[in-house]
Symmetry: C2
Subunit: 194 residues, 2 copies
DNA sequence: GCTATCTGCAACAGCGTTGATGCATATCAA
DNA sequence: TTGATATGCATCAACGCTGTTGCAGATAGC
């Protein structure tokens, strides 16, 4: 439930919706207070066309958040959080998530409404995340006494930080960034044991 | 340079300015798009009074950001980043910064204009931060091959994450939070050596 | 080709916010 | 006390954004 309450849109209409969502992400990530007019211009579409598909501005934002949440969930699932070896899953998921999160900064930053489908997706992803961390702990990758909820928060924070891209990072391989995130999460900045 | 281009304000006027800045922080941290009217109400002041002290809305925001930057700089200095033993400085600065950052979430989140005084303060703080990290590395607290710029970014991210306060944290001692931040920064989540 | 759908354009009313002004009143400081 | 300063209040014009509507033309789908 989410996209189709009426019959499917015509081909061109669906193309418009996609263009609008992508343009909205592009514009709103640079200025969260941008007007519908600006979004419409970026989408190559008249403002009224946006209002035809999304009654209120909030409806557009919600749709955007939901769309991005789905992509992110897909990125997590692709990492096989339940079956792949923890270290592998951790790395793969990190790389996948970095990719998606970088492309949907605004949409994934929108606070999800308590009962919404987007919120449910995010909760489910948090669950998957904890699963991976638990499996990692069981294998000794994470300290036995660690508070996994804190670890998860740190993980999220590191993911977010990786995306700011302080000059040096521009153009760096996603896998390299992911490796750094995972390494920092597990070992911090302290001296390495021989 | 910053506060006094004309002669000092009268006592009650200065009180108003303080009330306005504090109210602005309170209101804007909950809704960055809040109107001047809402801020004025929260400050117990007429909207026109705000406009008397701050010509544009942006002027108010800038003043707020500058005020908060100064407080944060003070918090850093109080930790003696140049003279105290690195581990001590790291902990003290972290605790101090957590205190200030928690109270001025919005003001410290405002993007600082390139040439502004606030930007200069933030740059100086970044410098102090790197100094502490270098001294910590010299003492072996941080790995010799570590990229201190990345470490600093991670440190900032951990500070930010500590302030979200996921239920459990509410009412927890600042020193405890600081200890967790520093510990995570240095050791990550991996298993501890005996 | 025919029809239903989609789109752009233009115009509209409504709304909230901003920033400015004048004036009467309250408060501080000397 | 007295003069300068600060404040509240009412009012104003201007602006931008939102959301809606009607219509004519373009496009997709059968």
């Amino acid at each position: 439930m989410g996209e189709s309450s009426a019959r499917p849109l015509r081909a061109d209409a669906e193309r418009s919706v996609r263009a609008i969502l992508e343009a909205a992400e592009r514009v709103l990530s640079e200025d969260p207070g941008a007007s519908m007019e600006q979004i419409a211009a970026a989408a190559g579409v008249a403002r009224t066309t946006i209002h035809r598909r999304f009654a209120h501005r909030q409806a557009l934002v919600d749709a955007l958040a939901l769309s991005a949440a789905r992509r992110l969930a897909q990125a997590v699932d692709d990492g096989r959080p339940d079956t792949a070896p923890p270290s592998v899953a951790l790395h793969r998921i990190t790389a996948n998530v970095l990719e998606v999160k970088g492309a949907w900064t605004f949409a994934l930053g929108v606070p999800t409404a308590p009962g919404s489908e987007a919120a449910a997706i995010h909760q489910e992803m948090a669950g998957h995340c904890l699963t991976v961390l638990e499996r990692a702990r069981a294998e000794g990758l994470i300290d036995a006494s660690a508070d996994l909820h804190w670890v998860r928060r740190v993980y999220y924070a590191l993911l977010g930080e990786s995306l700011h891209g302080d000059a040096d990072d521009t153009g760096v391989d996603t896998d390299t960034l992911a490796a750094r995130v995972v390494d920092t999460l597990l070992h911090g900045a302290g001296p390495r044991r021989a």
